[in-house]
Symmetry: C2
């Protein structure tokens, strides 16, 4: 597997002084996904866990609905290519994919976001899982130590899936969407039931981040950053607990706060 | 114009206490772009300066090469729709756009990024502009005060174009690519010569950010965050000065440091 970082030489400036020093930056490399021998898309990503990324991306985009749809998957890591062969009978149209993607970014073709989950045909998340506020603080603390590329480069996003206080999988990528797709792909490949998990991400919570988690039926999504209005609407409709500004012993709960347990005194 | 923020009610948690409070989040809304009556793409964005965004996006994607290609542009801000009519003779193919976009993200169809600027047919930036390191520190300081939505929501990116120490345009968006496209679009609409400017952005410098600035021939791109390996390669080949980790009186210069002037003692 190619290294996810690269050594370079830079000019480091401090006040009026400058000097040439060695530094490390995050690698950004193309991953081209072929489906049934059709070149579908090229993603720009951190070149590791390409298998996870391809599966997660195809799941997020609705090309596959589970690993059962895939007959064969083959990765050339050094060239950055993944070939996916779907099982016979699994419908696939390159044209629908491109048209779908052009509007998926918008999801609503110029309309408002009301009843978006209906339009997207997302089943509601009905998980009964509860996390105590103390457990959530533990997860937030653990997240700080999980990123290895970030510590070296300051240039990647992290997504991690937790079952109670245990890390099930953690993935890094230069793209915040890719980091979530890698976690989603890993969970599909390893058949992880997401209904009792919480996902923590480093990046802002836009609608696409929430949609990716909702498709995977993840009941709790937490970020140290802020959500957008559409992210909140989708989370609310999908039945997801959306938490932002999770830092230290503070957080904001934006939707479905009932999954967070306080000592005998819970929000409704 | 719709407001770029929305008032909501959240559960604010601090240690083991929680209370319902009013809060403000960044609006995320769809912008659908029609070109010659064909629905081309729907972007998710902060719903302001939609004109700038549509023009900048079409320019970044190569659909137009200047304002001269546009016969008419019409915006419905409340519905989030922009209609662009190209002048007769300006080539346009929806299919090419979608295929192009699918690989534009990758730019190289699974190949490496060497000679990417050749492939992208980007003219080299030959601007002779110089900025003193003190002026750059001033711009970095100014950037901190330019964002209005960010101060309220913590959820947007900012891009600003500076001519020497003067702000030419500043735009905010929930998407860091959109913020740059809005600045680029504004500069095209108002016929701003970018060859003597520096652009400052709040977000990480991935290849697409550098490509957008390079297409607009912006010679200096500065971020408080880090670049990726591909961003650096493209900047280097395009002749762009790429600066990261610009905070307070510190910065890292990654390429073409000769545009930064120190007192009599310059990097080569």
């Amino acid at each position: 597997m190619p290294e996810p970082v690269e050594n370079i030489s830079i000019v480091k400036v401090s006040n009026t002084e400058h000097r040439q020093v060695d530094d490390v930056i995050a690698k950004e490399a193309p991953l081209t996904i072929f489906v049934n021998d059709t070149e579908l898309v090229t993603l720009l990503c951190s070149p590791e866990n390409l298998n996870d990324l391809a599966v997660g991306f195809l799941f997020s985009e609705g090309v596959i609905s589970s690993m059962d749809d895939i007959a064969r998957i083959s990765v050339n890591e050094s060239k950055g290519i993944v070939w996916v062969t779907l099982k016979e009978g699994v419908p696939f149209s390159e044209e629908d994919f491109h048209r779908g993607r052009a509007v998926t970014s918008g999801c609503a073709k110029g309309q408002t976001f009301s009843h978006l989950t209906d339009k997207l045909d997302l089943p509601a998340i009905d998980s009964q899982v509860r996390f105590s506020v103390d457990t959530l603080y533990q997860l937030i603390k653990q997240m700080q130590h999980l990123s290895t590329i970030f510590e070296q480069t300051g240039c990647v996003h992290v997504a991690a899936l937790f079952g109670d206080a245990e890390v099930l999988v953690c993935r890094e990528d230069i793209g915040r969407h890719n980091a979530v797709d890698k976690v989603s792909g890993h969970s599909l490949i390893h058949n992880i039931d997401c209904s009792n998990t919480a996902m923590l991400v480093s990046g802002r919570l836009s609608s696409e981040m929430v949609l990716k988690a909702a498709r995977r039926q993840i009941p709790i999504l937490i970020s140290r950053s802020a959500p957008t209005s559409s992210a909140l609407k989708i989370a609310d409709e999908a039945g997801m607990t959306l938490i932002g500004f999770a830092r230290g012993h503070r957080m904001n709960i934006y939707s479905h706060p009932d999954r967070v347990v306080f000592n005998g005194n819970n929000p409704e």
